[in-house]
């Protein structure tokens, strides 16, 4: 992981300088020092490039003074309108220009420490790379920068403020690693094993296999897993950052972890099926979230639960028409074996309620294609039976840039799940496909405060964004970390 250190503003002897500059400001601090060292060349060059510091504007000046390879000036727009998210994006956008350097200094001395910290976070998040399977890549094609110095007026304050961000970034990277891993490597058994890294952070990790799950009556989850050669796992992770007082209840995060989803007997078309390695994105996020919370020693009692299965077609696979009995006792007619995520969640949510008696639950799942048709890739679909929890999630989405959009629930949608033979069908047809999926899950929450995030459109990015390289986004880690930090700590 990229090493970030905060230093007092001083001209470096070597490497690149990235300066984050507000609009219309006279050169000051580090930039002024650099300009003076260059005999006024830097200011003239920025002027010639038409650089005014407007938001999104940038200019590169090569070798401004001996030793310094380049100056990248990035505009922030008006300082009083700068949000922390925009500072983060500016830091992230700097990364591609400096990743090949031996040394680099991010000059944020125009910014207050809390905002400078977000710029550093942006660069760190963008620096993620999953290259363990690239065996023939030439060294010069790999990023070289191992340490980024961040120049800021109050370096000590920034260093302290950054510590929790670093822990969250560790969680994000863990999630991205899990989601990026190919499905032959990361199967349910392997994924459960990897949860054990959390023990080092003080998280207790408990793993259930098929035998235990069968005893608990988890026919819905096990039905999905029965076509695969690899056994299912349910992992419960608990971070007790506070000593619970009598009557205190933990909060629960629940993730769908289908390590590969062929669709089962209702097999998916071949085109794009490789994407289904990230059908464990919800579980990946929950695991990374637990790492983030434990890593920054969050003062909260949090349980993370993931249901891990592989959905394969085979002689033992479940069929359309099968009726399974969930752990809650409710029966489900399986119409489409490719609507398997909700079957897994049904049993894990029931387990959460019976084992942990949570204050509330949030589940995450790459659940439906319909949510992409509804919202695209900028928002996750948010479904909830609790307006307060939903409002807190929407707010946390705004401050972290992991946005969600509330979607409706209602009896009319629930009726679409009516089955002729069982308590419910596992699909409600194309119309309102994400809503009926949420209605299905809601049938297992026993009226408890609950929110469901359909992250099928946000778990994976088809192209680079400011703070996320193309690929696994770890959507939800920062959102839910913020939710906990803002409302459930102390």
């Amino acid at each position: 992981m990229l090493d970030i250190s905060f230093v007092k503003p001083a001209l470096p002897k070597a490497g690149a300088i990235v300066a984050l500059l507000p609009e219309g400001a006279e050169p000051a601090g580090l930039l002024k020092a650099l300009d003076e060292a260059s005999g006024g060349n830097v200011a003239r060059a920025l002027d010639a490039a038409g650089f005014k510091g407007r938001k999104g504007q940038s200019a590169t000046i090569w070798a401004p003074v001996p030793g310094v390879t380049k100056l990248l000036a990035i505009g922030l727009g008006a300082l009083d309108k700068l949000t922390p998210e925009q500072a983060e994006a500016a830091g992230g956008n700097a990364w591609p220009a400096i990743s090949g350097e031996a040394a680099a200094l991010l000059a944020t001395d125009a910014l207050e420490a809390p905002v400078a910290v977000r710029a550093a976070m942006g660069a760190l998040l963008r620096s993620y790379r999953f290259d363990k399977y690239r065996t023939t890549e030439k060294p010069e094609d790999k990023p070289k920068l191992a340490k980024l110095s961040v120049a800021v007026a109050n370096a000590t304050a920034a260093k302290n403020a950054f510590a929790p961000f670093r822990a969250v970034a560790e969680g994000v990277f863990l999630t991205r690693d899990l989601v990026s891993e190919p499905p032959n490597v990361l199967n349910p058994v392997e994924m459960a094993e990897r949860c054990k890294v959390l023990e080092k952070l003080g998280v207790t990790v408990q793993i259930l296999g098929p035998k235990e799950m069968k005893k608990l009556g988890m026919g819905a989850l096990l039905g999905v897993a029965q076509g695969s050669a690899v056994e299912a796992r349910l992992v419960a992770m608990r971070w007790k950052g506070v000593t619970p007082k009598k009557g205190d209840k933990p909060i629960c995060f629940i993730g769908k972890g289908v390590t590969f989803d062929t669709g089962g007997i209702s097999i998916k078309p071949a085109g794009g099926m490789e994407d289904m390695k990230w059908d464990m994105g919800g579980a990946g996020t929950v695991i990374g979230l637990m790492a983030a919370l434990a890593g920054r020693k969050a003062k909260a009692d949090v349980v993370g639960l993931v249901g891990l299965v592989e959905n394969m077609p085979s002689g033992t696979a479940q069929r359309p028409g099968d009726v399974v009995t969930s752990a809650s006792g409710q029966t489900i007619e399986v119409i489409n074996t490719d609507a398997e995520g909700r079957l897994v969640l049904a049993d894990v949510i029931h387990y959460a309620i019976t084992q942990f008696d949570p204050k509330w639950m949030v589940d995450l799942a790459t659940l439906t294609g319909a949510i992409i048709i509804a919202l695209g890739h900028e928002h996750a679909g948010l479904f909830s039976n609790d307006d307060e929890l939903a409002a807190q999630l929407l707010e946390a989405g705004k401050t972290t840039g992991e946005a969600c959009w509330r979607m409706p629930l209602g009896d009319a949608y629930d009726k679409q799940l009516k089955s002729d033979i069982a308590d419910m069908k596992n699909v409600g047809g194309r119309p309102g496909g994400s809503i009926t999926a949420a209605q299905f899950i809601q049938r297992f929450v026993q009226g408890r405060p609950w929110a469901h995030l359909d992250i099928a459109g946000t778990a994976w990015a088809g192209k680079d964004t400011a703070t996320t390289p193309k690929g696994a986004t770890a959507y939800g880690v920062r959102l839910l970390d913020r939710l906990v930090a803002d409302h459930y700590e102390g």
Binding site: A370, I373, A374, H379, G410, A412, R430, G432, I435
Partner: protein, 451 residues
């Protein structure tokens, strides 16, 4: 005015009553109908005939509608005992009956309208509430009647004829025909409609009162086979209802006229048929819209937003409205998103959005707010024109959001809302106010209430 309903044999209370499928009266005393409904009654039969239980928990309109729906074949009509309720409730019950009693025009209407006798404590008070409700119901049923018409009967030309006849109710009707639209540079609607034998037309209905009007803009595709990007055969017959947005606007304007509304309103309807022909527009074409903006065509089946682009521009530049609301059966995407139970609500103005959400609850035409994100707008950047009409084909496209992002480009700073009503323009199953397969008239009562 013809609307599929027979002439009343009772003297009508208001002008609007002529549009209703039942003859409504309010009275204090029972006339011992053979079909009666009321709280405390049971579903069944007694000495007089059939009895139907009302459940007050359902709300007034639904009570009336459900009572009607439970009657297999009313011979004379229905008597509802509402003497336990306020007089306003008696009027609402009657409105519910009138909405549910409307039928598809497949057979000759009964020689006489069935009667609806609502018993209440103060018939005069109920009669005072009734005209306003009746007008809204009449507008709704007018819209249903238009939507129900098959596309060989309701061509762009005959649609426009029927809209012209609204002038007899006091609406100012003006029509721009194909040549005029071409001449004025309305390149989007012209391209969409030009392969069909009639149309396109841009029809303006005005209810002139003091002050800046509220503008309604409706998509009126009398039939949509998709054009060169032709639709699959299965289900194509439903595309006769692709003018439901325009029908809703027309219905709302009729309501305003029938109740002599105080607020000013204007409706601009883009009426066309999206057909295939040697002269049809193509994917790849670049059109110049009335606003001057150029649009690259990706899919000729995304034609509604093109018609709306020119209609929105016309409404805003010619009528300086205080707000503009468009309504359209626009995308399949919104059906996947929200199903058949809510319409999608997009816009650029929170106050307008909140008013629509509140109004929609009141008339049971439920909406749900949907986003227009930065990426949605970026997705329709074009290499050759100002805008793409939609994102290039692929799976899992947020087309409803893309369409809204497209439309936003044509409204400038005018407060604007966009209702995507694909999915709710026809009842997919029996609902309180419409039987399965019947057009709902979605939007009419919402718009009427808004004015």
């Amino acid at each position: 005015m013809a609307c599929g309903c027979s002439t009343a044999w009772w003297p009508t209370i208001t002008k609007a009553d002529a549009f209703l499928p039942v003859s409504v009266r309010f009275a204090t005393e029972t006339e011992h109908f053979s079909a009666r409904a009321g709280v405390g009654m049971q579903d069944g039969f007694d000495g007089l005939g059939q009895t139907i239980a009302l459940d007050p928990a359902q709300g007034d309109e639904e009570m009336g509608a459900r009572a009607w729906a439970k009657l297999a074949e009313p011979s004379r009509g229905l008597e509802i005992d509402a003497r336990e309720w306020p007089d306003m409730a008696a009027a609402s019950i009657a409105a519910g009956v009138a909405l549910r009693a409307w039928r598809m025009p497949k057979a000759a209407p009964p020689p006489r309208k069935p009667q609806l006798l609502v018993l209440c404590r103060d018939p005069d008070a109920a009669n005072r509430h009734w005209p306003r409700l009746a007008a809204a119901v009449a507008g709704n049923l007018f819209a249903r009647w238009l939507v129900a018409e098959p596309a060989n009967r309701l061509t762009p030309a005959t649609f426009v004829d029927r809209l012209r006849s609204l002038s007899e109710h006091g609406l100012a009707v003006s029509v721009l025909g194909p040549e005029e639209l071409e001449r004025r540079g309305y390149g989007a609607i012209s391209a969409v409609g030009r392969a069909a034998p009639t149309g396109p037309y841009l029809v303006t209905l005005e209810w002139k009162r003091a002050g800046a009007p509220l503008a309604f803009v409706g998509k009126g595709l009398c039939f949509d086979n998709g054009g060169i990007s032709i639709k699959p055969a299965a289900g194509m017959e439903a595309m006769r209802a692709d003018m439901a947005g325009a029908a809703a606007c027309a219905g709302a304007m009729l309501s305003l006229a029938l109740r002599d509304a105080e607020g000013a309103a204007v409706a601009v309807l883009g009426v066309a048929e999206n057909a295939i022909g040697a002269d049809a527009y193509r994917p790849g074409d670049v059109l110049k819209t009335a606003s001057g903006r150029t649009v690259e065509i990706i899919d000729t089946d995304a034609e509604g937003r093109l018609v709306l682009a020119d209609a929105l521009h016309h409404a805003i530049t010619h009528h300086a409205p205080r707000a503009v609301i468009d309504i359209a059966t626009l995308t399949g995407s919104i059906v996947t998103a929200l199903g058949h139970h809510r319409a999608g609500l997009f816009g650029n103005d929170e106050a307008l959005r909140d008013r629509l959400m509140a109004g929609a609850m009141a008339v049971r035409e439920p909406l749900w707010p949907m986003p227009i994100g930065e990426a949605h707008r970026r997705d329709i950047d074009s290499d050759i024109a100002d805008l793409k009409q939609c994102a290039p084909a692929g799976k899992l496209l947020a087309d409803a959001c893309h369409a809204a992002a497209f439309l936003r480009e044509f409204v400038g700073s005018t407060p604007w809302a966009h209702l995507d009503i694909a999915g709710v323009e026809t009842a997919e199953e029996d609902t309180a106010l419409a039987a399965k397969g019947v057009p709902t008239g979605f939007g009419v009562r919402l718009f009427d209430g808004l004015v």
